[in-house]
Amino acid sequence: MLTSFIRTVLLLFFVILCLRLMGKRQIGQLQPSELVVTILLSQIAATPMQDNDIPMLNTVVSILALAGVEILLSALSMKSGTVRMLVDGSPIEVIADGKIDQNALKRLRYTIDDLLEGLRQKDIFDISQVQSAVAETNGGLSVQLKAGEQPLSVSQFGKDAAEPGVPAVLVKDGKPDQAALKSAGLDLDTLQKLLKRENAAVEQVFLLTLDATGKTFLVRKESLK
């Protein structure tokens, strides 16, 4: 039992290390080869956690080989379009110029229900609004609306809009983020002054953000029950 516990902890950290090395994306964004490797990795790691008969070295070797080959395959796919096409496939246009390509749907084994579901997930409930839709290699659907259905943008009004920027997260869970303070050109004294304006101490702050216009957003810590 103790052996199982030690193996589980060791293998968990080892798998996390390998996944970090491979630079995994979110499950929904994985290419087919990456999905295969992720599933295989989890299976290979799980078996010796439960079966003490299998030497751990076998598992380590298998995981290292998988991770290494996947990294090299990814690198090769980046360099070569042919390899990319062979390993991951190509995106396929399922709606072109507002018309559904039924042959493409058949090739992909997509039913019309799958297509409509993909559109609904993009908040599009009326297929007639779609100019173009592409089934990506990771299984997702990319959609372009018809010109008349697209939301208006500031530039279409002939106006200039200030770039919004990303608000800096200055305090998280009572602790100041030194890197964020530095990139916002602030120091701890300035932070204290900011918090004094809000009648709060750093330890009392759950979240504090500062945007490019100098506006702050503060959430105080709640006393947990």
Partner: protein, 124 residues
């Protein structure tokens, strides 16, 4: 990107190197243990058999830990059991039993090694 590629190459190389090193060690050690079993079996007298068995048991003791890391634990347990039986036969000065155990142990070592070889049968 370059760092990741180097890491990928290292991973593949390391996994291959470790598995090759493990296989070569198992091959070498199984060969030595099997030869020791055979020479113990071929001994002319009971005393020579006992001396050869003691030497074999010492060889096994030095290899047991690494075998545990490289082979399936059920295989290592079977080998451990066989050598414990040999030890018992030695303690009882039973040359006949020792020879039977030696023959079984030699066959067991051969079977275990056959299972580790990267040949057509094992791969597929």
């Amino acid at each position: 990107m370059k760092g990741r590629v180097i890491a990928g190459i290292l991973c593949v190389f390391l996994s291959f190197a470790v598995s090759l090193a493990g296989f070569l060690y198992v091959r070498m050690s199984c060969g030595e243990l099997e030869r020791a079993c055979s020479s113990a079996l071929a001994a002319d007298t009971d005393e020579e058999t006992f001396a050869a068995c003691e030497s074999l048991l010492k060889k096994w003791e030095t290899r047991r830990d690494l075998f545990g890391a490289l082979l399936k634990h059920t295989d290592v347990d079977e080998l451990t059991r066989a050598f414990l039986l040999l030890e018992t036969a030695l303690e009882n000065r039973d040359a006949g039993a020792a020879r039977v155990i030696l023959a079984n142990t030699g066959a067991l070592i051969r079977v275990i090694f056959f299972g580790e070889r990267p040949d057509f049968e094992n791969i597929f």
